[in-house]
Symmetry: C2
Subunit: 231 residues, 2 copies
């Protein structure tokens, strides 16, 4: 890893073209050759970057570039896609090099898969007598998150999202349409379950007779272990 703070301008040409006027920026050159150009704001996304695999070559400025005050030209190329990032250096303010080694990697927890798992385990929170039939119930157009049965034995298809938008309702609608063609399952009702459901999505769902359920992640987790807390 090499971290350089420099006054520079940047040009990118690939799927789009972009230009950054001369200013002070942080340049990160990773061990795999990838390059990130960061400013002192925004979020984690760099102003410009080059994804690996790519190669960095440093060249002398031509006459015009030298006259414009540039001392070095860095060219980062990705052989396969013809993408090209050119960093014109006017002044190197600081430079640090250190071998970080391979990162041991991170451990995640708490995404949609976990929501699905928790709801499948505590399906009775949808109503007395509910039972989970299968998670990831496969159909021709993709897997239904959870297939369940209610107290009367009627099939229920459940679509789970962290944020419930219109696209999620459309998705569930397609599943329901398909599942209801199966005489062994039909009639199949729908439940749209999410941590938050947008008003338009709720309106569309209810208009189609789909029940909306707002999930409480902490409450579902609490059913497993009331002691569980962050920190």
């Amino acid at each position: 890893m090499r971290v350089v703070i420099a006054k520079c301008s940047v040009d990118y040409a690939g799927r789009l073209t972009a230009h950054l006027p001369t200013a002070d920026r942080v340049l990160m050159i990773k061990a795999d050759g990838s390059v990130l150009v960061h400013s002192d704001g925004g979020s984690y996304k760099p102003l410009n970057w080059m994804t690996p695999p790519c190669t960095l070559s440093v060249s002398e400025p031509d006459e015009d570039q030298r006259a414009a005050g540039f001392t070095e030209i860095w060219t980062v190329t990705q052989a396969k896609t013809d993408d090209r990032l050119v960093i014109s250096i006017a002044e190197v303010i600081s430079e640090t090099v250190h071998d970080l080694g391979v990162d041991p990697g991170l451990v995640k927890d708490g995404v949609e898969a976990h929501l699905q798992e928790l709801l499948a385990e505590h399906i009775e929170s949808l109503g007395t007598g509910y039972q989970t039939v299968r998670r990831e119930y496969m159909t021709a157009i993709g897997p239904v998150d959870i297939l369940a049965k209610d107290a009367l034995g009627t099939s229920v298809a459940i679509e789970i999202k962290r944020r419930g938008g219109i696209d999620g309702v459309e998705q569930l609608t397609r599943y329901l349409e398909l599942l209801n063609r199966d005489p062994l399952l039909s009639p199949v009702s729908g439940v749209f379950a999410a941590q938050e459901i947008k008003p338009q999505a709720r309106a569309l769902a209810e208009d189609r007779g789909i029940r909306c359920v707002v999930l409480d992640y902490d409450a579902l987790r609490g059913m497993d272990d009331p002691e569980t807390r962050l920190f």
Copy 2:
């Protein structure tokens, strides 16, 4: 902007929880208080981060932490969402501070708007006798990307995407449904045009009688100016 290379472990708790074992990493602290934790690989996405607005506070390690070899504890909190990033520093390897100032910002070119413009100009690439009626043809539920007529004078609604997915087909379907209620336009056929069309989207479109067209950005651009090349 402050750039620190340090041996550290990282814990995040917010919408999910994540843990990073102790290793050498690059820590970027931006002027707005946001923090990025980068390793020596991957692409531009950090291993962990905190989006602004947030505040960083440094504290002494407690007894256990000191025994584990940590010398400083950095806590980054986002008051509004209760997100919390804790960086436990075992050793600072290098540190650089520099005020980058406000970035002048970048200039982009070459996105979906450009595709739409190119296709509208070269609408005959959809078939002999095609003519563009209007770009951004307004309807009650939003603008149709291009409204055209074929050689017979029949209306054609065209939806353009860079990547054609199911949602794009649904969108075009809603437009077609609406446009076909207008006796002055009806019948209106549909064209789903994209640089790439996903198989499921193609299947859905063709099932609904919507024609799929894969756009070649470079070829369309080449019709304007055969000399045009990047570099």
